[in-house]
Subunit: 208 residues, 2 copies
């Protein structure tokens, strides 16, 4: 049949249907609760569905996969972090010199491990993080901007990947927990890495 005079019968042409939105929240809350009380690794999709009082199919319709659910969870708890480095107060947010902001970004990322490092790690698909995810892209974009601001020449995109690779939740958790490295040591290594990239050789030149 050809199209009728009803071109946009969408539930809501911008967002999702009311019940869908409600269920999304129910599911995220349920997931957060389970993570809080039993840990990420003991979260099953059936649990989440049951706890939220919906069917399992709904969970997968919303989030696509377990990793997708974790991503959504990580994004929710990490939203304030995003805002902090996008538009919060210096030195993390705009206002401070780019070099300091880079340092602050690393420190903040590393200290964020306690909050939801395990969730972020679990958000990785089998075979590593999902580098194509919007959050990851945003982080790299941020790094690129800061690098450019410090006057770094060359392949900024890959430089951003290199920096972000060290901030990978799986790696940091390994260093912190399995290897017992102190946060301060990780932060110092980040600073050295940033200095090496931005050309501040000694590490003292741009130091606080």
């Amino acid at each position: 049949m050809e199209q009728r005079g009803r071109p946009l019968p969408l539930g809501r042409n911008d967002g999702e249907r009311r019940d869908a939105a409600r269920n999304r929240k129910l599911l995220l809350d349920a997931a957060a609760g389970i993570v809080a009380c039993r840990g990420v690794e003991n979260l099953t999709m059936d649990d989440v569905a049951h706890q939220a009082g919906v069917g399992k199919g709904t969970v997968f319709r919303r989030f696509g996969s377990r990793a997708g659910l974790m991503q959504a969870l990580a994004d929710r708890t990490g939203r304030d972090f995003q805002e902090a480095f996008m538009s919060g107060p210096p030195p993390l947010g705009p206002g401070a010199p780019a070099g300091q902001r880079l340092r602050a970004f690393g420190a903040a990322s590393i200290n964020r491990l306690d909050v939801d490092g395990r969730v972020v790690r679990a958000a990785g698909s089998p075979g590593g993080q999902d580098h194509a995810h919007p959050t990851q892209r945003l982080v790299r974009l941020h790094l690129i901007v800061l690098l450019r601001e410090t006057g770094v020449q060359g392949d900024l995109e890959l430089a951003a990947y290199q920096l972000a690779a060290f901030l990978d939740a799986g790696l940091l958790l390994h260093l912190s927990e399995d290897r017992g490295m102190a946060r301060s040591r990780l932060i110092e290594a980040w600073n050295v890495l940033v200095d090496g990239m931005t050309g501040a050789q000694g590490g003292q030149l741009l130091d606080e």
Copy 2:
């Protein structure tokens, strides 16, 4: 019953039992065959067991998990690479200046993607690579030695982690396949990273 005069009734006090060794080989061969003809993602543990003519339990007894099997597979095909950078000809092996060896190591790792990048990526547990695996440790140890040889001061262990993070198979495959970046570009970015760490600012100072 108390212990008798037979203190060491081990099958073989060093290695594994004959049949176990035979099955290990059968299993690795079967896995390699399946990977070669159907790809890593279409390999199931039941397939491997059946193809090798053993029970499924045997596969898990030998390799612990799917990731473990992949690791073993990657290690076998990567053994010659290990030998190449440990004791092969320069510039990859000993004999060349450390700076050149670092560059060669990155280039070799990146070019190795074609061979078994997907296997290595699949060797990662859910939530990233297994940084504690002997092969990873060997790589980092190698990097530490080379870094020290170039006169780098500071936290060499974490510097090695930073370098190795960029050579992660999952990341490189993403850059190469999803993002369509040329190998040459990745290698150049590696060189720049190494130069930044070793203090060769311009990139031309130690250039070939």
